[in-house]
Symmetry: C2
């Protein structure tokens, strides 16, 4: 089992890599080789029990996808993407990487003439307001960002290429990933992580929205788990509708903060400062809140069901000492 991860240097890619190294298995089979690729060279994993190649490259550069596919990896994780804010600011870059890059990869597999499992990370950004109270598995994709549009196009291609037997694809729409490790960033969604991560590190954090804002979340640990499950799931059980909204937790900011207090105490909660930001409030108001994700749950995808579990996953995975 040769595993290729495109976008291996990102938060989800690194966690997925770690999980695969830990178990030595993917889709129920022993891993015999691994290729880690990204636009920045992924860290070389020391002590891997199988050969690992790390490669720097951009899948939207003509020829790069063919080079990656030449070794005929059995399992391909396509995680590479320009994020939402950047795809909105830079039209060309977003369409080049998220749209052309995905198509180049899919076509490289087509022209190679073999049928690997391809796991593609999509996003709840394929949905656009107005929403029903709970977004069902048959709700339509009317994205309100170029990023969401590019992901929705990737989903359509994935389903068609799978239907035609070109590869065996699974698209997974990730919830917002919380708690993101690292430094606070300027993403409009950053505060969902900041208000937990920073207080746990003894640092202040800014809450720019009201406490009744509800959002759809899962931990980085769950995200890696979704990818591993998507790699091993029986394609026939999925059927032709190959893109699945992943399970998550619909929770309000107020409940997130309560959970922080329950896990880490009121002095951590006191580090959160409410500083309303009308721009962020307006952006967040257009985001989906609650999904039913019945199909994914029925197919065995599992996420946290309490925010305290999400906080504890962060504490364990990042080795935080309170």
């Amino acid at each position: 089992m040769h595993v290729l991860i495109i976008g291996a240097a990102g938060m989800v890619g690194r966690r997925l890599t770690a999980k695969l190294l830990e178990s030595g298995m993917a889709a129920g089979k022993k891993i015999t080789a691994m290729t880690l690729q990204d636009v920045v060279t992924p860290a070389y994993p020391e002590g891997a029990p199988f050969p690992v190649v790390v490669a720097k490259g951009d899948v939207s550069t003509p020829g790069e996808a063919e080079r990656l596919i030449a070794a005929r990896p059995d399992l391909i994780f396509h995680l590479a993407a320009v994020v939402s804010g950047e795809a909105e600011e830079d039209f060309d870059k977003g369409y080049r990487i998220n749209f052309d890059g995905t198509r180049f990869l899919f076509d490289a597999v087509r022209l190679a003439g073999y049928c690997p499992r391809v796991v593609f990370t999509s996003s709840i950004a394929v949905f656009g307001a107005p929403f029903p109270d709970v977004i069902g598995d048959e709700f339509f994709s009317t994205p309100l960002t170029s990023y969401g549009t590019q992901k929705a196009v990737g989903e359509l291609l994935l389903a068609d290429y799978t239907r035609r037997g070109i590869f065996d694809g699974v698209g997974i729409r990730l919830p917002t990933i919380v708690v993101r490790p690292g430094k606070p960033n300027k993403a409009a969604s950053g505060f969902f992580s900041n208000i937990i991560r920073e207080p746990l590190a003894g640092l202040p954090a800014v809450l720019p929205v009201s406490r009744d804002v509800v959002h759809w979340m899962a931990s980085p640990r769950s995200a890696a788990g979704f990818l591993l499950h998507a790699a091993e799931i029986d394609g026939a059980a999925i059927g032709p509708r190959r893109n699945l909204t992943m399970p998550g937790l619909a929770i309000s900011v107020g409940e997130m903060i309560e959970a922080l207090g329950a896990v880490a105490g009121p002095e951590r909660v006191a580090l959160i400062k409410e500083t309303p930001d009308e721009t962020i409030k307006a952006i967040v108001a257009g985001w989906p809140r609650t999904f039913d994700a019945t199909r994914a749950k029925d197919l065995g995808f599992v996420a946290e069901t309490s925010f305290e579990d999400i906080i504890r996953a962060h504490i364990e995975d990042e080795g935080i000492v309170l």
Copy 2:
């Protein structure tokens, strides 16, 4: 008002051209120039009250879209497409014309830096079985053909380019167009037209499915009407969800035949021979049957509400003498 029709030589393109020549108006304005383009040279319309250019070309050829956009047409109808069966048989051709061609056109407008109205013909093929009894305006696009996939991608791009102010797009999902003029063709949907057109011409026709098959139809006259209305409708009234399922008539084959009898008499009905074809039956079983099309109706799109009207439209428009 300079009008460009890409795909002008097709059945719908010709009817649209005729309507525009007849009224001399589009989107409430006087037409001052018209460009008719297709992969076969469109017929030059004699006696046009404004200059007409007919052009042979393929919008998926690099540079062709730029050439068409150089004159900055105010209103662009993008009807050019490889049909469903051909896109399924010829992967490269389908993706080249329906996917790349559409993107090339949209990008040519983007790079030209002005904001015309773009009317794009999509299809109910963006939907894939299983279906609810009535397909609502928020049902998702999970096409089961490459043609449907390519149309769904065009819809996504149209909405995103419109949202970004690149152009002012309207996508219209056409029902199956009945009664198609001309000769019987091999399309699986051909019999819906054949069983009306051929008997009206005094010729025999084959019915390959059972009489209880229900399908979603509109006349060629309605299709041209949808395009003209899509050209003039206020973009703000549509909102960001730019792709609309057109109204149509959900009717069974049995009811179609009854209507034929009512309009043209039992001797015409007697020309229909029932010869079940299991392949066609299976294909048709996967097609959508009934839509509510509420959004389009609320926006003023109008279709026939009786199949007798569809037959009479055919008789009038084709100048048939019974």
